[in-house]
């Protein structure tokens, strides 16, 4: 009467019940057995035995109660769970016995997975984690496209937002537009990012203010006094966290706002990737009626809505689309194909995710490469361990252990390793993102603390890695025929060594790729330092300051900069000084459209504009190729003069001399200015954009004072700053640094990535070295006998070492051969995405190859030395 098929399920269910009811069953069973024994004994007593005799006889007839209880337990509960604890204990003991293996495996796994978990926690923090906003799952971006944007995501106008706001699928609608402002309060000035917001921005997002009140609907009235909510960070910076800040004035650009509230710590608005320090009503962004009209029609706002109860994003999209069609119908042709869409609010708004992909794809690729390397290491270690344990396992198989049982032990070990590895990984995930942030000097203020999602991810990756990397070798080990394993200890060792060599080659190839990429980035940075940018940045300093917040009139500003220039030029260390709106190649710039007068065809072209003072070109030593530089007279502006760069001259007047030609920055209607000079192109990359230089006006924007100085630039900077302050102590100095540093900021992304790549590349190489060390150490053991024979026959130490080191050398060559095409491919991709990065050149490849070879030979040499310690007499007699 054997249990088969569905009856097995029935038994399984009963066992599950038994597992839960364990203790109660034990007691009931004991009672039942006791009663039985008593009845049996009573019967024997009735037959004439003494009580004592009867009890003994009863026990004899009943049989062993302990075995019975055990049988019952085995039947009534799940033996796999019962013996799980045993497996875990056994695995722990096994791992403690093989400490070296366990520690290496855990650290390797921890490193590989930790870097992945870190990357995941960054992605999690930026894109996956719900925002710290009230019921954030109800929030949606209102994404728009139109025909002329070619399907790319677009922004909304103020009028659009107002028209969308009564769509019933959305309970609330708000919008924001990004601004950059110079803010001045309590004698201190900072350049910060701000957002102009429409309606009840804070209320819609469900954010409370920390102090004071939020801005809302009532502040949207153009007649209202301009109010501002500042970030917690700015509150601490400008107002030292003082409660009296509420009600204080805050000058931004040339408008005075009143601080009405402080946002909660960490609040950055709807887009977590932005660093926003001030929020103002959108209505205040327009100061004149003309501005207001422009503001209402310009596409500059990003819409955010809260779904009405019970509405899903698809339904909201349908409702929004209906409204979009109506708006397109009422609007000029430019809104043709206008669509609206509700997209759940996570990370950045859909249209704003440009720049990041290349860098994040690279980081992700790098971490996956490191994980692969770590994985190969664990697989290698498992193989090595498999060999060491083959006789042990064979013995157990021979003694009747089932293969399942042995695999369960292996599995328990793997799981333990995975847990320990995950522990190390989580520790890393706790530390690395913050380090990465420091490494890339990111201004983003996101909380990277790992949450449950990260923990889950880490555990899943660990288990998967260990199962894939650890269990497959285990399966192979347990498939060894016991007799063969016990007798020869060889098993499929040759095959295994081949597999190991493949793993190590793969590791070396991946490390090679990572290191070449790092080298290429490094080289681009070195090159950037020496590249000819079209002028001489060395020995120049720049001080950015802002006069607008001081309420200077045009004339007073004019006088201010004139006096300032005079004074700075008189500072002994200063050889030459000038002013400009923008620091050349400093990152901030403005783009204009250039129109020529005499052409039937359209010759409009976009150009970088800069407004400069006399001696600008001399200060930077930017060569004037034709014509002349600006003179004092040009400052007065009649006739208006312009200096263009070579790129613009060749583009607009390819076959003519540009001097004397006229161009307009306000369309064909003029006013036109005359080109008086052509200067060299200024560029970091060699392909310069067209540029136009015009005489400077002091009021429009912040200004940069440029000086060519002798000697210590830090001292000169202080001297220049002193001059600025001595003219007016209230002047907001935004940034003062050497010109090199101002330009260098442009390369911050490249610099950061090269650092990250360097760190990851080093980690990869370290892991590969560990893997190789393991391989050579294993080979040394496996070839002990051969070495013994060689030594016995008179081989010298050098010969024996060479045996292993040359072998390792072959692996390096194989790794490089495999890695080279990959490395070239990767650098080709990088070349397209990052400034100054070139396809891997022989120097970079050669250097990396040498480093790789050096590390590998060392990793091989250390364990190979052990081969020398082999006593031929012992080795030859050993069973191997």
């Amino acid at each position: 009467m054997n249990a088969r098929g569905p009856s097995r399920l029935r038994a399984f269910a009963a066992r599950l019940r038994g597992l839960v009811l364990g203790a109660r069953h034990d007691k009931q069973f004991d009672d039942e057995v006791e009663e039985h024994l008593r009845l049996l004994a009573d019967r024997f007593v009735a037959q004439g035995m003494s009580r004592e005799e009867a009890t003994r006889a009863a026990r004899r007839q009943f049989g062993n109660t302990t075995t019975l209880q055990e049988d019952r337990r085995a039947l009534q509960t799940l033996p796999s769970i019962e013996s799980l604890w045993q497996d875990v204990r056994y695995a722990t003991q096994a791992l403690v016995r093989q400490r070296g293996f366990a520690v290496t495996a855990v650290l390797t796994l921890g490193l590989g997975i930790g870097l992945n978990a870190s990357m995941f926690s960054i992605i999690n923090a930026m894109l996956l984690r719900p925002l710290p906003l009230d019921r954030s799952d109800e929030l949606v971006w209102i994404a728009s496209t139109r025909m002329s944007s070619g399907g790319a995501l677009d922004k909304l106008s103020y009028t659009d937002v107002i028209r969308i706001s009564d769509v019933s699928a959305l309970s609330h609608v708000t919008a924001y537009g990004d601004l950059t402002v110079t803010a001045v309060a309590r004698q201190e000035a900072v350049r910060i990012n701000g957002q102009a917001v429409v309606g009840d921005f804070f209320a819609v997002l469900g954010a409370n203010v920390y102090r004071g009140r939020a801005i809302g609907q009532t502040d949207d009235d153009p007649a209202a006094h301009p109010a501002a909510v500042i970030s917690f960070r700015l509150w601490e910076r400008l107002f030292s966290g003082d409660d009296a800040a509420i009600g204080e004035p805050l000058r931004m650009n040339d408008q005075t706002f009143t601080v009405v509230g402080v946002a909660p710590r960490g609040f950055v608005g709807a887009d977590v990737l932005k660093k926003v320090d001030v929020w103002v009503p959108a209505a205040t962004a327009a100061q004149s009626d003309d501005d207001r009209r422009k503001m209402q029609e310009r596409l500059w706002l990003i819409g955010v809505g809260r779904l009405a109860p019970g509405v899903n994003p698809d339904q909201a999209t349908a409702a929004l689309q209906a409204r979009a069609t109506a708006i397109a119908h009422d609007s000029p042709r430019s809104r043709e194909g206008f669509t609206l869409q509700a997209v759940p609010l996570h990370g950045s708004p859909p249209g704003e995710r440009k720049g990041a992909p290349a860098a994040s794809a690279m980081l992700l690729g790098v971490t996956i490469a490191v994980l692969l390397i770590a994985c190969a290491n664990v697989a290698n270690l498992s193989l090595v361990r498999g060999v060491a344990r083959a006789p042990d396992i064979a013995l157990r198989l021979a003694l009747g252990a089932s293969r399942t049982r042995i695999l369960r032990h292996e599995l328990a070990e793997s799981v333990l390793l995975a847990m320990a590895g995950a522990g190390v990984a989580l520790l890393l995930a706790h530390i690395v993102p913050a380090l990465l942030r420091r490494l890339v000097a990111s201004p983003i203020d996101v909380d990277f603390t790992p949450d449950l999602r990260v923990v889950g991810f880490t555990l899943a990756v660990s288990l998967l890695t260990v199962l894939v990397c650890g269990l497959i070798p285990a399966l192979r080990t347990s498939s060894v025929a016991p007799a063969r394993a016990i007798n020869t200890q060889k098993g499929p060792a040759g095959q295994r060594r081949r597999l190991q060599r493949v793993f190590v080659t793969g590791q070396l190839a991946l490390s090679f790729v990572l290191l070449v990429a790092a080298a290429v980035f490094l080289k681009s940075l070195v090159l950037a330092r020496h590249v000819d940018v079209g002028f001489k940045p060395d020995g120049r300093v720049a001080v950015e300051f802002d006069l607008r917040a001081l309420g200077y009139s045009g004339e007073r500003s004019e006088a201010f900069v004139r006096t300032l220039l005079d004074r700075v030029r008189r500072v002994p260390a200063v050889r030459e000084a000038s002013l400009a709106h923008f620091i050349p190649l400093g990152g901030r710039t403005t783009i204009g459209t250039v129109t020529t007068r005499a052409s039937s065809v359209s010759t409009d072209t976009g150009a970088v504009l800069n407004f400069v003072w006399p001696r600008f070109f001399e200060t930077l030593d930017m060569a004037v190729l034709r014509g002349r530089a600006f003179a004092e007279a040009d400052q007065i502006g009649s006739p208006a003069a312009a200096v263009v760069n070579q790129a613009l001259a060749t583009q607009l007047w390819p076959h003519r001399d540009a001097i004397g030609e006229e161009l307009s920055l306000d369309g064909p209607g003029g006013p036109f200015v005359q080109v008086v000079g052509v200067v060299r192109n200024a560029s970091l990359t060699g392909n310069a954009r067209p540029a136009v230089y015009l005489p400077g006006r002091p009021t429009d924007t912040s200004l940069a004072l440029l000086a060519w100085v002798d000697g210590d630039s830090a001292q000169s900077l202080r001297a220049v700053e002193r001059e600025v302050r001595s003219l007016d102590a209230r002047v907001a100095i935004l940034r003062s640094d050497t010109l090199r540093h101002h330009i260098g900021e442009r390369l911050e992304a490249e610099r950061a990535l090269s650092r990250v790549l360097g760190v990851f590349g080093a980690a990869a190489l370290g892991l590969a070295a560990i893997g190789l060390y393991g391989l050579v150490a294993y080979t040394v053991v496996a070839r002990r006998r051969e070495v013994g024979v060689r030594v016995a026959l008179g081989a010298r130490a050098g010969d024996v070492l060479r045996l292993f080191v040359v072998d390792a050398g072959r692996l390096v060559v194989a790794g490089i051969v495999v890695g080279l095409p990959l490395a070239i491919g990767v650098t080709m991709v990088l070349e397209g995405s990052f400034f100054g990065v070139q396809i891997a050149d022989p120097v970079a490849i050669g250097t990396v190859a040498l480093v790789l070879a050096g590390v590998v030979v060392t990793a091989a040499y250390l364990p190979a030395r052990r081969a020398l310690r082999v006593d031929p007499a012992v080795a030859l007699r050993s069973p191997d």
Binding site: A3, V33, H36, T67
Partner: protein, 116 residues
Amino acid sequence: VDAKKSELLQGTLDLMILQTLHALGPLHGFGIARRLEQVSRDVLRLNEGTVYTSLLRLQQQDWITAEWGTSENNRRAKFYAITARGRKQLETETENWERISSVIRRVLRLQPESEP
């Protein structure tokens, strides 16, 4: 003990218990053991305790049920009763048993032909 042999023994015991419960109605473990002792006329010398393992196995297949009750001398005891499923199983197994045992009987009666 060889796994197959013990399976056969278990199966036999299971079948006998089912038959006992079918014939006599609900019984406690002690009662079942006595009945088995009686019908086997002491031929089936067994560790009485194994009855309980068998009872557990039968319960897990839902062929019998167990309920706490009061024994004839007023003590708490677990009474086992056969279920409908159990009767069906008993029928099938009895048929099987009879078929197999008749085959075995016939096989055992065969006389070697070469012997005089």
